[in-house]
Symmetry: C2
Subunit: 356 residues, 2 copies
Amino acid sequence: MKKHNYSAGPCILAQEVFEKAAQAVLDYNNSGLSILEISHRSKDFVAIIEQARALVLELLKLDPKEYTALFLSGGASHQFMMVPYNLMQTSGKAAYLDSGTWANGAIKEAAFFGETVVVGSSKDQNYNYIPKGYTVPEAVDYFHCTSNNTIYGTQMKEFPAAKVPVVCDMSSDIFSRVLDFSKFDLIYAGAQKNLGPAGTTLVVIKNRILGKSTRAIPSILDYEKQIKAQSMYNTPAVFAIYTSLLTLQWLKKQGGIAAIEKINNQKAELLYHEIDRNPLFEGTVRPEDRSTMNATFLLRNMAHAPIFEALCEAAGISGIKGHRSVGGYRASMYNALPIASVLVLVAVMQELESKV
Amino acid sequence: MKKHNYSAGPCILAQEVFEKAAQAVLDYNNSGLSILEISHRSKDFVAIIEQARALVLELLKLDPKEYTALFLSGGASHQFMMVPYNLMQTSGKAAYLDSGTWANGAIKEAAFFGETVVVGSSKDQNYNYIPKGYTVPEAVDYFHCTSNNTIYGTQMKEFPAAKVPVVCDMSSDIFSRVLDFSKFDLIYAGAQKNLGPAGTTLVVIKNRILGKSTRAIPSILDYEKQIKAQSMYNTPAVFAIYTSLLTLQWLKKQGGIAAIEKINNQKAELLYHEIDRNPLFEGTVRPEDRSTMNATFLLRNMAHAPIFEALCEAAGISGIKGHRSVGGYRASMYNALPIASVLVLVAVMQELESKV
């Protein structure tokens, strides 16, 4: 039986993506070759990566003359290091918003390269809200924020005005909602939520912010060299990029980001409504900062946990255990999770209520 | 029709690996989940990566108390930078053997971190031999060499004595022949030849060489942090590592490295014998330095090229065009290429001889 997969990432992708990806592992496009054994310099793969890069900009409504999309390696954590390596001046400084574990990871890595200014933090309340009311200073090389906090279930609904380049880690909510993406100068996202399998990382860069640091950058870490090589400075993650293209094509077919946002809002409303209504449960996040991607919630009485978890398992619900930093449960509702799966979870929560 | 795939990389893997990998994309181990949607922290994936790491050391006959195997991101080119970042002292120096394009790439990146001493080079003859007769100095932080040169078709048959740590890029011949791997202190290899699909890189490290540099290393680039995190400092390339495990299991079932080496030698002898016998062809590499993995050869008369290439295509031979640095043809005969494919190529070379 196919599971209702609430995993926080790697996570569910569309069923048709799994089917096409599996077919390509056996034989790509009737070529007599597996997608795993074709050269990254082959006409077939060059077409794949170029389509994927173009479709990213099309879906984000970004001008390809101003922005470049790259598929790099190493995950978002790798970008924690590449961002300051490329954008921070020697003896420079950068502003960071501390909204959780991953934001913190980015701050720590930036400290290898220069001074970090933390303009706001919600650490005092175990990150159960998004810091607000801060100002982004002008005398920094860039401002960095995390749009969605997978672990804590919070999401930025607004982004600050800034006179410096704005860098955003959108790993866990890219392609899930309409934003004016042209307000951002560098967006990065590990593929393994709304884009594809683990193993590639999307980086979208406004070209003109580069080339301003005098720091010597090793070639493979240099965004300008990656752009010049058209995202093929060295052998890219062929299969992960192909599967990302399949997901981007699926998303376009759904009607793009605006269409998927509507469904994401419906899913989130269904689940948060039940969390608020059902006396057995409580949410962990201030309502105005709740994430549409990751809903974190607790049982008010932990004695109900074994029966709730048994009901979930019997219903085919998978990956709902909360992160150890928050405890309880976390339902990740990425783009590919069908509403039907949310209805099953809500039904299980109601069944629990009727039983205890 | 399944092709005879001579691609230099990404390249052929065993057919049973493609079949098992495709099945796992649909449903991993009857879990109701695709391998692409399971958490990297799940029991299933932790078992996969731990088996793969252990099997690497077992096949290389390395002591797990002395060595650690990691599956990192970014390809071998990423290791060109990580090796000096971790092993070169601040104001240190390292010795490099210049045996081709990739060795050169490694030398260039090391220069970002300190002084490089090139102990030998075969650039004078377009890298058609392996430099010999050099001495590895003692006053360097490490010695770096490239065991097999994919582009030029040369392979080191002997490795120098060295009193400093020996680092070897084995991207294109790891697991293909028996060596005393305990003579090496750090081995790295992009997966996409004898190990798995593009998207993960094997690094095998002798633990005790680490921790000697005073350089501040960003976390994700720090081998010690990667070892401490058991190769899961951040989300690894789940599918590429799973497919690598399948290949390692396949190799063990063939009888391990010693058994595959015999077959690799047979394949190389068959093809080089024909290159030397057939008056239409000539090899590009000094016979004693010929690679068993990548055979590079030319047509003596380029007027025969169209008919030779048409015969190859008709026979289902794919990926045989030489790299632009050498021209002509390159037949890559990695572990998974069957002898039957080599017999087909030899037959085509003989057919050409009979036709012109």
